[in-house]
Symmetry: C2
Subunit: 371 residues, 2 copies
């Protein structure tokens, strides 16, 4: 999904020897690089917004620079979270608040676009005639010998379904398009306002300071990187492990396990929050490991497990958008029906994402490259 | 699900030594027993219908005798299918047609009841508040630290969902109750008419003949059971294996595999037929093995794989009933929405049943008892 799992590859910076440097050198080196990326993204965004160009993906040329801004903001935020004891605490907390605000504001427009894309593609899949479907060619499935009972009655109700769902799906798609495009437009305006605000300029100033000099606490940060940064990174890792342990993972680990996943649409919001909490902690853990660089033990689970949780979030939000659209007054029953199918379909994607997360998470931590 | 997978345990009959007897002895012994069961079920049904009594499950007292009738009819049908070359072919084909008609007519009433039960229980699960849900007690899930972005917006749309689905679900349940109870009542009347018809009395007469003397072809049936029956049973087994091979099993074997399962509601009828064909062949194979008795190699996969396909059929029929109810004129959008959710939920059960079938089928054929 565009805008959901796009991410910027972080190269270890030159001139910072994580293996032998002090914690202060490693941490401020990481923060310097992220701050420099942020400022580059900011310049590119200002230029892109001026020309209004499009990149190859059809998204606005500013989309790529917004990605850079967001990725840098999230990584600075993560480093400030895990390594807070080495920094001026009040300064770190204030900057984290502002970076969260900025990343959230910038993310919203693209999240709405991705959500619409996800929902329309699911509607298309659900309603498509499927002549190019996955059935093996030449199969006799369409003409089974003597279908009995329920099969015959299903075949009889087939044309109604074939006619009914596409009609409702088209109207549901149009409704979602109107609602999510409106939300996206508003988010776009809000992001533009944010980027022109005094609040944003204060963030940019603080990041510019960070690009030259992070406010470290020398007494804490002057030890060797491995001895000082390692235990702090481990603490974030433990928080992640504890949050994962609270998930119904053994139950989600069995596919199609209705009991384990409680496919109750009424309780889904409460359940989703716990999984989303893990998503956030997993990202913080990944950024904490990035700071450590070669000092970190590589964990090939992190990326696929994180991707599964990004899909989890996207599908849960899409299901909620379908439910929300169904509450629109005076819609046709066929539209509501298609939205109901869509809601359940996206909850199914939520369940699939939980299963995928469980599989990645319980795989061998230090596995081969094929993981 | 009541009425779907209920089945009668078949005891090997006394006096037929399958290991040393001729094919004629073994086959006619099996047919005699099934015919006797059929006639016993018929007498019990006549008495039950007279008293109108209820059995312990709350179903009519006649339900148990209808089960006996159906099970015996299906098994005779299966034996006539597989071992047809040993029998008067025209007689076997005619009796099979009549037994299929009878079993189908008797099954319908209970199938509608089971379908309604399945749909109402799914609606209850989907709409329930879930205070006794599967979430571990004492989890902080309901109060996650600082939910961001999509989580916060989902939480905001929560109350609407909580209020909306139960209301729609109640109305959808009432609609399904009306429609399926009407269908059930009609099926009940049709079954009563069938049991009083001249056509039924002709079937009963034919079965009574079978209870004393099956019309075997001596030239073919006089060889040893293992040499004569074995190859015929293998032929049915091969038909099953070929039908399974045509299923997209490797794709269904990966859980939540949208590509493999084509979660297109428009093509579902075509797909379902191939799986239902396997269900029928698997049952025929199981009955062919029953005739062989101790000559058959026990295959512990057959029962769980067959149960999965019974669930497949029940869920597919339930999904179709939800879709059919949604086509009712002038229903409220909330009702249609709940029916859409229900349809997709039951298609999810279809997918789960395919996955379960694949797991059972690809497990070691001659496994331990734990299979």
């Amino acid at each position: 999904m565009a805008g959901q799992s796009r991410d910027v590859v972080v190269e270890p910076g030159p001139g910072t020897d994580t293996a032998t440097g002090s914690a202060a050198e490693v941490l401020s080196g990481y923060l310097h690089q992220r701050a420099a990326e942020f400022l580059r993204g900011l310049r590119a965004h200002a230029q892109g917004a001026g020309t209004g160009g499009q990149d190859g993906t059809g998204r606005g040329g500013t989309a790529a620079s917004v990605d850079v801004l967001r990725a840098a903001a999230r990584r600075m935020n993560g480093a400030l979270f895990t390594y807070r004891p080495l920094l001026d605490a009040r300064w770190a907390d204030e900057l984290r608040t502002e970076l969260s605000w900025l990343a959230g504001t910038l993310a919203r427009e693209y999240a709405y676009a991705a959500r619409l894309e996800r929902l329309l593609s699911a509607l298309h899949r659900l309603a498509s005639g499927g002549t190019s479907g996955p059935e093996a060619p030449g199969r006799p499935a369409a003409h089974p010998a003597a279908p009995t009972g329920a099969v015959a009655s299903r075949a009889a109700s087939g044309p109604r379904e074939r006619g009914g769902l596409p009609a409702g799906a088209a109207r549901a798609g149009a409704l979602l398009d109107r609602q999510l495009t409106l939300a996206r437009t508003r988010a776009h305006s809000a992001a533009l306002r944010a980027l022109g605000s005094a609040r944003f300029h204060a963030v940019a100033d603080a990041v510019a300071v960070l690009a030259s000099e992070a406010p470290l606490r020398p007494a804490e940060a002057d030890g060797p990187a491995s001895a000082v940064l390692g235990p702090l990174a481990e603490r974030t890792g433990r928080q992640l492990v504890e949050a994962v342990a609270a998930l119904p993972l053994s139950r989600a680990g069995a596919p199609y396990n209705a009991d384990g996943l409680s496919r109750s649409l009424a309780t889904e919001v409460r359940q989703d929050a716990a999984w989303d909490q893990v998503r956030v902690l997993l990202r913080l853990h990944r950024y904490a490991q990035e700071v450590l660089g070669p000092l970190a033990e590589p964990d090939p689970r992190l990326r696929p497990a994180g991707d599964a949780l990004e899909r989890h979030r996207a599908a849960a939000a899409a299901a909620a958008a379908a439910a929300s659209a169904a509450a629109t007054p005076r819609i046709a029953p066929a539209t509501a029906y298609a939205l109901g199918v869509l809601h359940a379909d996206q909850r199914h994607e939520v369940e699939a994402a939980r299963f995928a997360f469980g599989r990645h998470w319980t795989s061998t931590p230090q596995g081969a490259t094929g993981c």
